[in-house]
Amino acid sequence: MATIGGLDRLLAEHPFFNDMSERARGLIAGCAANRVFHDGEYLMREGEPSDTFFLVRHGAVAVEVNAPGGSPLVLETLGDGDVLGWSWLVPPYRVQFDCRAVGLVRALSIDGKCLRGKCEEDASLGYEFLSHFVRVMAERLTATRLQMLDIYGHPSDYVEAQNRVAIETAAMVPAKPSPNGD
C-alpha cells in the first residue's frame, strides 16, 4: 500500500498535476488511494452514488452506456494520464455511465467527499483544483462535440439521416382529424 509520501509522488507524475502547487497537491494526496483494476472490472457503475474520481496512471477504461436489448456502447476510452469522472462534483452526485477496465488498469482514486470538504474549507485550494478540473471538462466537451459531428461520414449520409429523422417524426405526429370528423 502506498504511503501519503508515495501517493504524493504518484500524483506529481500524473499530467493533471503538472502545474499545480505542491501545497494543493499535498492536500489532495490526503484524499487519494492507489488502486488496481483487472480486465472487465468496473471502476464505477451507472446510477451508483458518485463519491470518487480517478486519475488513470496506466491502462484503458471504457466509458459505456447500456443499450436496452443490446450490448453496451462505448462512448469513449480513457487512458494513461486521463481523469475519469466528475459526477462527484455535481449534485445529485450520481454516476452517469459505466466505466469498465479494458485490461489491467492502475489508477489513483480520489475521495470526492473528502476533497469537496477540503475545497469548501480552503477557497484557494478549491479555486486551484477547479481551474485544473474545468480544463479537463472543457477538453472532454470539445472532443465529444467533434465525435458527435460524425466527421468521417460523407455529406450524403447526413442527408440520409435527416430524411430518416423527418420520416420518423412525421410518423410520430398524430394525423389531424378532418373538419368532417373522418
Partner: protein
C-alpha cells in the same frame, strides 16, 4: 515541398495533359461498404507509372465522367496503379461497378506531393481520418522502405467505427513493428472493441515524437485537420512543420478551369499537399 511535373508519368512525356491514357482494370478489391480499390495497368504492360506520394490522377469512366483520385499504391511498384475510391457520385458509383478487363482513361499524375525528402532526419507524424488514409499510404510505404532515414514515425488514424477502418490488415501489420507507433481510434464502438474510442486528435497527446523535430502530414475531413492543427500547436509543432492535403472540386487538374480555386492557389496545381503556413489564413476563411 516537391512538385512533380506531369510530364514524368508512366515513363514518357505526355504530349497533352488533357488527353487520357488507356488503362485496363486489373483488380477490384472491396475495402469497406462503398469503398473499393481498383488496380490499373497501362495497355502496354511494359510501361511503368511513376508518381510521388500524395499526387492524384484523373480517372475517366468512359461515357460517364472524370474524377480526381489520389494514388494509394506503392511508389516503388509502378507497374500497377492503385486507387482507393469512395462511391459518392455518379462517376465513382459507376467505377464501383467496373470489373477486371474494363478500360478506363487516366490523366496524371498531378499536383504536389508529401515532403518525403524534407522529412528525412525528422520525426514524422502521419495523421489520417476515414478514407484520408489512402493518399497517405504511398508515403507510409516510402518511409518504411527507407526507415533508417527518419526519426520516430507515428501513424495516428481515426475512423467512424471498427468496421470502417481502412486497410485494417496493413495497420495491424504496421502496428506489429518495433520501429513504428500506430494508434487507431474510432468514434463509436461496441463493448467487443478493445481499442480506443474518441477523437483522433487526442492521439497526438500520447506523443512518441519530439515536437521541435517533427514534421506532420495530415489527410482527412477538413474539420478533423483544423482541430488536428490546433492539437499539434498545443504540442509545440508549428505551421511550417505541418502539411495538409486538401480536397476540392478538381476538373482540368492543370490549373486552367478554376474549379478548385482556393484563394490565390489552385488545389490541383499548387496542391493538393500544402505546407500549412502557406494556407493558414485561407484555411479558416469560411467563404473559401
Amino acid at each position: 515541398m516537391q512538385t512533380i511535373p506531369h510530364t514524368l508519368s508512366w515513363g514518357h512525356d505526355i504530349p497533352d495533359p488533357m488527353r487520357p491514357a488507356r488503362f485496363r482494370v486489373e483488380s477490384v478489391q472491396h475495402e469497406l461498404t462503398g469503398v473499393f480499390t481498383v488496380g490499373l495497368k497501362p495497355l502496354d504492360e511494359t510501361q511503368t507509372f511513376e508518381f510521388a506520394p500524395g499526387q492524384f490522377n484523373m480517372l475517366y469512366q468512359f461515357g460517364v465522367g472524370e474524377v480526381p483520385i489520389s494514388v494509394s499504391g506503392d511508389p516503388a511498384r509502378p507497374t500497377t496503379l492503385l486507387h482507393t475510391i469512395r462511391a459518392v457520385g455518379s462517376v465513382t458509383n459507376a467505377l464501383q461497378r467496373v470489373s477486371p478487363g474494363t478500360m478506363l482513361g487516366v490523366r496524371g499524375p498531378f499536383g504536389t506531393s508529401w515532403p518525403v525528402a524534407a522529412a528525412e532526419g525528422s520525426d514524422l507524424v502521419i495523421l489520417a481520418g476515414g478514407i484520408g488514409l489512402a493518399p497517405l499510404r504511398p508515403l507510409i510505404y516510402q518511409v518504411l522502405a527507407n526507415r533508417s532515414r527518419f526519426g520516430a514515425v507515428c501513424i495516428f488514424y481515426g475512423a467512424r467505427t471498427p468496421d470502417e477502418i481502412l486497410y485494417r490488415d496493413e495497420l495491424e501489420q504496421w502496428r506489429g513493428r518495433f520501429d513504428l507507433t500506430v494508434e487507431v481510434t474510432v468514434d463509436r464502438a461496441g463493448s467487443d472493441w478493445l481499442g480506443r474510442v474518441g477523437v483522433v486528435t487526442k492521439l497526438l497527446a500520447s506523443k512518441g515524437f519530439s515536437p521541435p523535430d517533427t514534421l506532420a502530414c495530415l489527410c482527412g475531413p477538413e474539420i478533423m485537420m483544423r482541430y488536428a492543427v490546433l492539437a499539434l500547436h498545443d504540442q509545440g509543432v508549428g505551421d511550417q512543420q505541418i502539411y495538409v492535403s486538401l480536397e476540392r472540386n478538381m476538373k482540368c487538374a492543370v490549373g486552367f478551369c478554376g474549379h478548385c480555386q482556393f484563394g490565390g492557389a489552385f488545389v490541383c496545381k499548387d496542391g493538393p499537399v500544402f505546407r500549412f503556413d502557406t494556407i493558414a489564413e485561407r484555411f479558416d476563411t469560411r467563404e473559401i
